[in-house]
């Protein structure tokens, strides 16, 4: 039984062990700056994983998850800085708000697929961005909102990093179980053929609604962590580029691989932070890297690694 369970979850166990090993040693050797980069990678890996569940397993590419992520960030910063409430309550409210936004998005988007799903989630994300920009009395408009900083016990970057690592790895395991469960299989079935799933008795719209709301919860957790990490929120946190960046991370790491999100997030955030020190044209470098990946490893970095291992095993 235990052996069976290990064999079934082996990819996840190996991936989580690698992430733990690679990220776990960062505070031992890295500066505070490098620890903060690693923290950012973890947070965005969680966002990318939430997008990957929909794009890779359910075949629905969302351009609205950046807005869901940002909604959580807004609520956390607003609750701590404007209301003056506790950060723990703020995080809970942020995640709740993101899940509710995702539920509203999901209610509308679960009935469509393909390019219509893409456009609808894009439009819904734009609405959130518009609200953040125009509702200046609450959101601070273009100036955004500045937080009051993390509570004292979280102020140390190493402590905050390890808390983020613990949360992200735990949720990674939860997401893995979700996509391996019968519910996850139905998502893959819907991706393959909605009408076939319908003929088997599945209300595809209901399943997509649950999937969208659940992934919104994960994006909300990432957004809440980002609020504590960044201590600032502005309309750029909810704009389209946030969703696109999360999607690029998932694609670069390997769509449908789940743990590829860590590779994608690391590649993009490291490029943003290190290449930008040498050239202002770092987005061009990112673009070239993305093109090269699509040509040489269209299944993403983790997908390519898996392919190489498979070929190695066969030969």
């Amino acid at each position: 039984m235990l052996v069976d369970s290990f064999a079934k979850n082996r990819p996840a166990i190996i991936a989580i062990a690698i992430v733990l090993l690679v990220f776990g040693i960062v505070p031992m050797f890295g500066s505070n700056y490098q620890i903060s980069i690693a923290t950012e990678i973890l947070i965005f890996a969680l966002l990318a994983m939430s997008i990957d569940v929909l794009a890779g397993f359910a075949g629905r590419t969302s351009l609205g998850h950046g807005a869901i992520f940002g909604a959580s960030t807004y609520v956390v910063v607003y609750w701590t800085s404007v209301v003056g409430g506790s950060p723990i309550v703020a995080v809970a409210l942020g995640i709740l708000a993101a899940t509710l936004v995702a539920a509203v998005f999901g209610m509308l988007a679960s009935r469509v697929s393909g390019v219509y799903f893409l456009l609808l989630t894009l439009a819904l994300g734009m609405i959130v961005w518009g609200v953040a920009l125009r509702w200046t009395s609450v959101s601070g408009g273009e100036n955004g909102l500045r937080g009051v900083g993390r509570p004292e016990w979280l102020n140390d970057p190493t402590v905050f990093f390890y808390i983020c690592l613990g949360i992200v790895l735990t949720l990674s395991a939860v997401i893995w179980r979700l996509v391996q469960s019968p519910f996850g299989l139905t998502l893959r079935g819907i991706r393959d053929s909605e009408s076939r799933m319908s003929s088997l008795g599945y209300g595809c719209a209901t399943h997509m609604f649950i999937a969208f709301t659940t992934t919104g919860f994960f994006a909300g957790v990432a957004g809440a962590l980002y609020a504590l990490f960044n201590n600032f929120v502005s309309p750029s946190t909810v704009q389209l580029s946030q969703s696109v960046e999360g999607l690029l991370m998932a694609i670069l790491g390997g769509i449908g691989t789940l743990f590829g999100a860590f590779i994608g997030a690391a590649a993009i955030i490291l490029l943003e932070n290190f290449v930008s020190q040498y050239t202002a044209r770092w987005p061009m470098v990112l673009g070239f890297m993305f093109i090269a990946t699509m040509i040489f490893a269209p299944e993403g970095v983790l997908g390519a690694i898996r392919r190489i291992f498979r070929v190695g095993k066969k030969s």
Binding site: R191, R196, L200
Partner: protein
């Protein structure tokens, strides 16, 4: 009982089913025969309330309840299962996943993955293969197994013997006959008269969207010359 009465189905403005009336009783294997393009699959799609065709007249009742107007998943939830033409498996799911997706291994009532594997030992050997890695016969077995996992009371099988080797067709006939004996109603759409006669209790023949002949299988087995004019291309 599945009762179909005066059903008229359309693809756009084209009338495909023109007043079809038939029924399938519990535990009965009913064959629906006809040449290509006569409307057999259209009838199956109409029963499942799939988006196309559009049923504009008549009624399709299951145990007295009207099915028309339901969503396809609503029909399936009423224990009406479909084995579609061409198997239509999920290419990314393994054999086991096809079955456990519908009913987790923890559920022991009704049809389970293990019972399906007992019925089709070949599938058990291929349990970790994906849908697109199976042979035609194995795909058909899995399509039947997948349909059984919803614990149906009636199964609609759309040309299950299509493209299969004779030995596989024989195996399938045995399985259909065994399923019929368990009390399951089966509507078997076939072009192959001999394959249908091997298992069915009653026969309907469809031509240009109408039922043109109904007979018991025993009658047809004695003399099927009257059927041949509908089934042979002149």
């Amino acid at each position: 009982m599945l009762e179909i009465k005066d059903v008229q189905s359309f693809y756009g403005e084209a009338l495909v089913l023109n007043g079809v009336t038939m029924n399938v009783k519990p535990g009965e294997v009913v064959a629906l025969l006809g040449r290509n393009g006569m409307g057999k699959t259209t009838l199956i799609r109409s029963i499942m309330c799939l988006a196309q065709p559009q049923v504009r007249a008549g009624s399709i009742k299951w145990n007295g309840e009207e099915l028309l107007g339901l969503k396809p998943h609503g029909v399936a939830q009423r224990k009406i299962a479909l084995v579609p033409q061409g198997r239509r498996l999920f290419p990314s799911l393994t054999v086991t996943e096809h079955l456990t997706m519908i009913k987790p291994t923890s559920v022991k009532e009704g049809w389970t993955a293990e019972k399906i594997f007992d019925m089709f030992p070949r599938l058990a050997e291929r349990r970790s293969h994906r849908g697109n890695q199976l042979s035609g016969g194995e795909r058909q077995m899995l399509a039947v197994g997948r349909a059984l996992m919803i614990d149906p009371e009636v199964v609609l099988m759309d040309e299950p013997s299509e493209g299969l080797a004779p030995v596989m067709v024989q195996h399938l006939e045995t399985i259909i006959a065994e399923l019929g004996k368990t009390g399951l109603g089966i509507l078997l759409v076939e072009q192959n008269l001999y394959s249908a006669l091997a298992v069915c209790d009653r026969v309907y023949v469809m031509e240009t969207g109408r039922i043109v002949h109904e007979a018991s299988a025993a009658e047809v087995r004695t003399d099927h010359s009257s059927l041949m004019k509908y089934l042979v291309v002149q």
